[in-house]
């Protein structure tokens, strides 16, 4: 009998303690970020989809179409092509598309590039209902390749 009442007392006390903890938390500042009105600060190393780095002068892509990134990609989602114009020192990119639907954001392409021509973008507002929107033309960013 004694144990029965003791259990009720300790049990109620444990519930009261829990309630008290929750009540105290109710008056703390919220930790949630009110997306889309606010957005989080992305760290410098954030791995978004890839984008081409460009020369400071001229804005030409640094890429020399060596195909190393295409070969390194486990998902086979990079398609690129380049031509070597007459007398030019290196190949010039004519096509660079990323099939973002299969990209696993692993970053192996960026690591494989010996010419420092790829980087991660910080673009994460990428929701779309059209599959074509994820065929990204990195050569002419901003325009969707559809």
């Amino acid at each position: 009998m004694w144990n029965y009442f003791k259990l009720i007392a300790t049990g109620s006390w444990s519930l009261a303690v829990g309630m008290w903890i929750v009540l105290r938390h109710a008056f703390k500042r919220p930790v949630t970020v009110q997306y889309p009105y606010e957005s989080v600060r992305l760290p410098a190393r954030y791995r978004g989809h890839i984008e081409l780095k460009r020369e400071a002068a001229g804005g030409q892509p640094k890429c020399v179409a060596c195909l190393a990134c295409q070969r390194a990609c486990p998902s086979g989602c990079i398609a690129l092509d380049g031509v070597k114009p007459e007398g030019a020192p290196r190949k010039v990119l004519t096509l660079y598309t990323l099939n973002f639907t299969t990209c696993s954001l692993c970053g192996l392409c960026v690591e494989s590039c010996a010419f420092d021509a790829l980087q991660f973008s910080k673009d994460y507002n990428l929701a779309s209902v059209r599959k074509e929107d994820y065929q990204m033309d990195l050569l002419t960013p901003g325009e969707k390749h559809s």
């Binding site: 903890i21 791995r47 486990p74």
Partner: protein, 372 residues
């Protein structure tokens, strides 16, 4: 059983738990044969998320399989990567610089804490308590922020490489981690007051779902399930890898074997992991984080090896067989969740349905890890 006996004494019916059920945390289906409220038989049906990870490990080069490892046990992704790179490094005879090993230990233990916090919240939801999840997620987010700052991703990290890690950690990460350790330590009493001592939680866990050491042995149960059954087996101690022998930590063991024991093991492991991280930060050596002369196209010599790590859920093992080419001949992945689920059928027999859900939750299953 003869037909009469079946029809006169027992009337059983079958219900499906899952494949879409909040308590299975993924696409797991359990075919329950019920005798009223009691379970007669529980047959797990798996494979809904089967992606042929082992086969993928065999038809692509070693480096290309790296991102896949994070997609098996995605709650504790770093352990899978650690097991995989460990196996390949052993095959190819690559030595990892000490700083890289320390960084691996720090990040992996952070991942373990994050995984256990997620489990605690999700387990409480299984038992009907929603609030603790919000607190554990608050802490877990801090860890993910830290890991994101070094790895660039929040879940599928893909951070380890053959021969080291791909990014060095900076002072900001070290300071942030230290701050987090003290924050979580100061919050542990809150968790114990809110969860461990809660009468409803205790009534739902104490003595519920007993798993014995013998059952674990027969089914290969490892991790907190085994340690909650009174066996002090931890791969970090039993088969030390990486730089774990340099750290002083305990292996929490509870002999009761019930849901409460598994809960306590995990809560104690959080504290032990924090200790390991703190020691690793104190001793962090300078130096490179990547081994020199790792060939770009890895072709390990003919041979085979096994590498096992203690993941947040148990032993995760990789058995790699190389035939001297750039792709593995065989890539066997031993996932802890598969074995831990296997014992559910035997252990849940005769339990109340609601208690069986507590048992299922306490096993800490990640379904894509089972299906692979």
């Amino acid at each position: 059983m003869s037909i009469e006996a079946k029809s006169i004494h027992r009337e059983t019916f079958v219900i499906n738990l899952g494949p879409q059920h909040p308590a299975t945390h993924g696409v797991l289906r359990i075919k329950l044969t019920m005798d009223g409220e009691y379970i007669d038989d529980a047959e797990p049906i798996i494979g809904y998320g089967h992606r042929m990870q082992e086969k993928m490990g065999e038809n692509r080069t070693y480096a290309k399989f790296l991102p896949n490892t994070a997609r098996m046990d995605y709650v504790a992704a770093l352990f899978n990567s650690q097991g995989y790179v460990g196996a390949v490094e052993r095959l190819a005879g690559i030595t990892v610089p000490e700083r890289a090993e320390y960084i691996r230990v720090i990040t992996a233990e952070l991942n373990r804490v994050a995984s256990h916090l997620l489990w605690a919240g999700a387990f409480l939801i299984d038992l009907g308590g929603f609030t603790p999840l919000l607190y554990t997620f608050d802490d877990r987010e801090q860890i993910l922020d830290l890991l994101e700052s070094v790895t660039g991703a929040r879940l599928t990290f893909c951070y380890y490489r053959f021969g080291g890690v791909c990014n060095d950690i900076d002072d900001e990460f070290v300071a942030g981690t230290r701050q987090f350790i003290s924050r979580l330590r100061s919050r542990m009493p809150m968790y114990h007051a809110l969860i461990t001592k809660n009468i409803i939680f205790r009534k739902r866990c104490e003595g519920i779902g007993p798993i014995t050491a013998d059952v674990c042995r027969r089914y290969g149960g490892t991790g907190p399930v085994l340690r909650g059954a009174g066996v002090a087996y931890d791969v970090r101690k039993a088969e030390p890898y990486s730089v774990y022998p340099q750290f002083d930590f305990n292996v929490p063991v509870y002999p009761e074997g019930d849901c409460m024991a598994r809960y306590r093991v995990r809560m104690d492991e959080i504290v032990e992991s924090l200790r390991i991280i703190e020691q690793a930060l104190d001793k962090l050596p300078a130096g490179p984080v990547m081994a020199e002369k790792v060939p770009r196209f890895l072709k390990p010599p003919k041979g085979e090896c096994t590498f096992t790590v203690e993941s947040a859920r148990g032993s995760f093992g990789v058995r790699a067989i190389s035939d001297g080419t750039d792709k593995a001949y065989r890539m066997k992945l031993r996932s802890p969740c598969f074995s831990n689920l296997s014992l559910f059928q035997e252990c849940s027999r005769g339990m109340l349905l609601a208690d069986a859900l507590a048992l299922l939750g306490s096993l800490d299953l990640v379904i894509p890890d089972i299906d692979r």
